[in-house]
Symmetry: C2
Subunit: 462 residues, 2 copies
């Protein structure tokens, strides 16, 4: 989406709070656009169209260019069809492809038909890529020169290119006559070079390029880890196909984080903003996971049934069940969250599992001991006031403390290793959500607690 | 950190998997650098230094520039001091400031002393800003021209600027003689303009700028929502101080997501990569939250104590306690996660709380009904085989089902509204972690369950 960003750079009508403070002369139209922006998400489709019509054309165009692809497509299709062409043609090819992808199936051919022939070919090329591949987020227009041009010629040539088409002009790519990528030169270097040297003298020839089928997450990693502004995309023969720029990557990074967070919260990724997704669609995404977790959690009822006799003999044991299983769940949730995020950032890899396991075993033992001591103290200090825990309260306290140690250690280990197991099996590690881990750990917690009770309280309470 | 990105653009020695496939001629040195990169995180400080010494200087420089600020500072300080100057001077001012900030307090003055006078002044200026303010992440070097220059003159002048200093050259800023920001022109527009027009004819004058004290999250929002490549930073008099570029924002977006995710997992934000943070530091960040949640969870033991008589009379009730409270926790975890993320992305604002509450009330009732029905079926179907639930199993199943409905509705509402309450009170909504919500909901779950049991089973089991 760079081109529209390029053509309306840090230069904009007054929008939102920030600019109100800093732009000295907000005009009346500008206020309209900013009002529309802040009201946008609460308006119905009809209201959006109506309000949008009140914004003067130039403002309306910048406003339109900044909408999400889904909103662009929605708004566009609510215009009368004779206006479609002028709006669709505002878009750079990668944006146009996104907007067309967001449109209902049967309207797509119509929208493609509104484009000029050159852009149409590019957009059709882009639509052939999966949405989350390099090819799907790249811009097929980029500044190009030949290695045997003089620097002055190259600059003049670029001036002509940028005059006729919207380009993302971070780096200049040097191609031979068959479009093979031979080198790259940054704009800074090109204009800083002596006018009469050749492009091939200032270009760098070792170019890291992304494969056109590379996943967008992999590209995001290349760009963020190298801290680049753009990366070229090539086919198997190293013919240049387009560029992916860092502003596209910001979106990818945000989207990936959102997906991970939603999965970690124990729901399927929504793929749409919370307030915009249909209530039944959201219900399905949450309900499936919730029901699956519930079915898993039923094992706790079976485990408890197994100890029904012990509970009947020593009801005092039942009092601490929620405390013990939730401590396992909480420590597991901490561990799984830290590991999933560290994996997503590339800080922890599959082969690090053994280091993580040792680290988390230590963490679990320490954290479990802390909770064990707090739990023990609580029972011992409470007892004189309440007499809730009976004559064997010291033994009960010991059972609770040791169970906490066991359950927290187990929860921590399970929570930290589950993401590795999921990734190893080809699943998304982020599915090792806090609720998922808690469910796994709850049954273990019950088993640990009642087994310890059976041993330590034998002949006393049991 | 743009400048180093600019001067070594999509042109790099072979690094990682991606490039191995795409760069046709990996040299021997390049393999060294890439080996070092992949081994980096498992090496001790001494090993890092030793391995780094084996990489030829030019490769070593690119490698160094790509390290995190903390690693840069660490490596730098392990060199003999006579080498510090040449390494520190490789850095752009905003990078140098970050590296110096990452160094131990008593080495900072020494490092600042290694800079040339001009850069030293800039770096000291940057160090005066808080790390997460606009001033803290901006680059104080940016391409600037005067409004009364001709386009040709401006281009020639920029060529001179970029030759002597490393610049992030996305947009050209037009300043008057007192450094007031008068306008901006994109590089594309400048080179596409007629050579003899004036800069003031092609510049745009309505410029959205960030205030120097603006928080980095707010800047990230400006840049991502407008899909810009850079935003200028100005002081209260609208004098230009620097630019923040989108590649800095990618880091901000990643960091913010990481912090939120860690808080949502029920731990304080680590601020360091998982494998690099000291084990005791991590333990403190996890232990404090875990202990706080544990103390809160102790209320469940008190609540259970309140119903000790009922449990003794009808042990069958105890069997479903884990199932019921965990269902409340899971549904609360889903709701809080979705809302926290939607808030972070600006999709949901404080004033939307009532819309969210209605939506989540509906969601809770539907999801609770689904789990209630599953729970009811499970007991009724299981009973003929196990006879675990006694003669009143239908009543028990009804109590369980209605409790699930109540607990899931309550969990969903609590989970969705807690982030609003926290934000309203000035706390980070991400602190409404899954474990925090689960702890809040557990007590309510016990109360709902036993109250319903007391009513429905009165005269039968109780």
């Amino acid at each position: 989406m760079t081109p529209s960003g390029e053509s309306s750079p840090a230069v904009e009508p007054v929008t939102g709070e920030s600019s109100a403070a800093t732009a000295p002369h907000p005009s009346i139209e500008a206020v309209h656009a900013s009002d529309l922006r802040s009201a946008w998400r609460v308006l119905s489709r009809g209201e959006r169209l109506e309000a949008f019509r009140l914004v003067p054309r130039r403002r309306a165009e910048s406003f339109f260019l900044r909408l999400s692809s889904a909103d662009k497509s929605d708004l566009l299709l609510s215009f009368p069809s004779e206006e479609h062409r002028s709006w669709v043609r505002l878009l750079a090819p990668d944006d146009a492809a996104d907007v067309i992808q967001a449109a209902p199936h049967k309207r797509r051919a119509h929208l493609i038909g509104q484009l000029d022939t050159a852009t149409r070919n590019e957009v059709q090329g882009l639509l052939a890529y999966a949405e989350d591949e390099a090819g799907g987020i790249m811009n097929p227009r980029y500044p190009r020169v030949r290695p045997d041009m003089k620097v002055d010629e190259a600059i003049a040539y670029l001036r002509k290119q940028t005059r006729t088409r919207s380009l993302s002009i971070h780096y200049i790519y040097v191609l031979d006559s068959e479009q093979h990528l031979k080198g790259v030169v940054s704009f800074r270097e090109l204009i800083a070079a002596s006018s009469r040297s050749f492009v091939r003298d200032v270009m760098k020839t070792e170019v890291v390029a992304a494969d056109e089928e590379m996943d967008q997450e992999a590209i995001a990693k290349i760009i963020t880890s190298h801290r680049w502004v753009a990366v070229p995309v090539v086919d198997a023969d190293r013919r240049m196909k387009g560029v992916v720029t860092v502003d596209d990557i910001v979106d990818v990074v945000q989207e990936e984080a959102t997906e991970d967070i939603q999965k970690m919260g124990g729901t399927a990724a929504l793929d749409e903003p919370y307030l915009e997704i249909g209530i039944w669609k959201m219900m399905r995404k949450r309900g499936v996971w919730l029901a699956a977790l519930f079915v898993g959690e039923m094992l706790t009822a079976s485990a408890m049934g197994f100890f029904e006799k012990e509970i009947a003999q020593a009801v005092v044991l039942a009092l601490f069940i929620p405390l013990i299983i939730s401590s396992g769940g909480n420590s597991g949730s901490q561990a799984t969250t830290l590991i999933i995020r560290a994996m997503a950032l590339g800080e922890v890899r599959l082969r690090d599992w053994w280091r993580v396991a040792r680290r988390e075993l230590g963490a679990g033992l320490v954290l479990g001991s802390i909770l064990g001591v707090i739990g023990f103290m609580r029972i011992v200090i409470w007892q004189p006031f309440t007499h809730l825990y009976g004559e064997h309260f010291l033994l009960v306290a010991l059972v609770v403390a040791l169970s906490l140690l066991g359950v927290v250690t187990w929860g921590t280990l399970t929570g930290s290793l589950l993401p590795f197991a999921l990734r190893r099996l080809g699943f998304d590690p982020a599915s090792a959500s806090a609720p998922f881990v808690a469910t796994l750990v709850d049954v273990a917690g019950i088993l640990i607690y009642f087994s310890l009770a059976a041993i330590l309280l034998a002949g006393k309470l049991l």
